[in-house]
Symmetry: C2
Subunit: 241 residues, 2 copies
Amino acid sequence: MPVFGDLLVRRFKCLYPLSSGEEAFLRTMWSRTSDFSARQDIYYEGARPDSSALLLSGLACRYRLMSSGTRQIIAFIVPGDLFDTQSFLLRTLDHGIASISPCTAGLIKHKTLMEITRSHHGIALGLWKATLIEGATSREWIVNVGQRNAHARIAHVMCEIYARLAVVGHTADGGIPWPITQSALGDATGLTQVHVNRTLKGLRSDGLITLENRWLTIHDWDGLCRRGEFENRYLHLSPAA
Amino acid sequence: MPVFGDLLVRRFKCLYPLSSGEEAFLRTMWSRTSDFSARQDIYYEGARPDSSALLLSGLACRYRLMSSGTRQIIAFIVPGDLFDTQSFLLRTLDHGIASISPCTAGLIKHKTLMEITRSHHGIALGLWKATLIEGATSREWIVNVGQRNAHARIAHVMCEIYARLAVVGHTADGGIPWPITQSALGDATGLTQVHVNRTLKGLRSDGLITLENRWLTIHDWDGLCRRGEFENRYLHLSPAA
DNA sequence: CGGTTCGTTGATCTATCTCAATTAATGTGG
DNA sequence: CCACATTAATTGAGATAGATCAACGAACCG
């Protein structure tokens, strides 16, 4: 597992060019790491954390609970993602954050963030840019649940997670770890667990994917992208200019 | 119609406390205004504008076009909203922006933004915070299309627009101007125009609203909020601490 | 190895879509 | 300012993607 500082610097270089002084600073700015087991709340909705965090390993999600008891997953968080810079400026969290698989996060005090953004304009812009990319991803999710049918929604989620894990080198043999249960996938796509099950069956029998032992293999990347109308532009993955 | 500088300062004061120097600076930072007639593209998807903008009057929206020809409206833009700081850091716009009613926008050069965010940390944080609120709104929309039925979706959109217009004083007699056609409302909620029509009929006959002459009157605010599960927390409307 | 969670399948139901036609507004050129 | 063209709203009838209810087998976990 990469060291906190390495991952943070690597992520930042995709956001904004770093001077060597800034890079050194980034390597020292975190306070500690913490571990979470699977399906555990990391922050509750309404929490007022005094730190933001960087996911080091595992998979997590942002979610909202409805009064009817259903859950909408609003985003997935993969290693290398900063979360949540949200609470740094908005104080109270308007959604919960939970682990999906066991995960590790490194914490960065809001006070430290405030100091570094004051003294290093480039880092402030980089962080800001990260929140813009998060926003772009949310917009893509609105489109996903608003406009696409079940097959496309699920294909799109798979493509997104694959593409984001690829950046941090967490893919192997055209596949990725897949700790997401069918009911969590339903929560992310606004579908029933039962319907997710039938839809996955369809994607499997179309030869696009296989899904076994918590591992997703993508047999036909282009086909899956076409099915999910996935274009990675919104993720802004290419390194910073 | 309020002057550009006034509106900008007023908006900023909701985001971050301003020194009097910063306030003066804000009043001079814009370059010019431009006007748009109804249903006109302001920026195309893929555009690379060299300015961000502040909406002075009218109503606009962000949208994405699907290959099938359908449109998903991703957000509404009301007077006082900055758009889009998106392109300031991400360069190319990943969605289009169009007017709904005739509107006026004031432009701010990216170059100016870059300078002011470098020299004024508070303004940088304020702008960043604005993009975080936009992100929170997008997440709320994911929930809206992912979890709520037609009645609730439409009620929620009405509550959001009312609440946001109230902040800038664009309400009158418990109502707001409503230039949004049924088919645009369908694009925002992921519903068919026909179904929007029937759903509006339901909201009307439940005594929650009336909708005539492009004017929405809300007869039962609490009832409408309940129907749409609307809670304004995510809009972060209260003035900056 | 027994309990809980997760995945699979069947049968039925319903919110919303589609297609289609009509009326009401709104806008425009002469 | 009117006739005509276009866009927006309304209503009906029929189709369907996805929901709901229910039951059971498979995997995982302490």
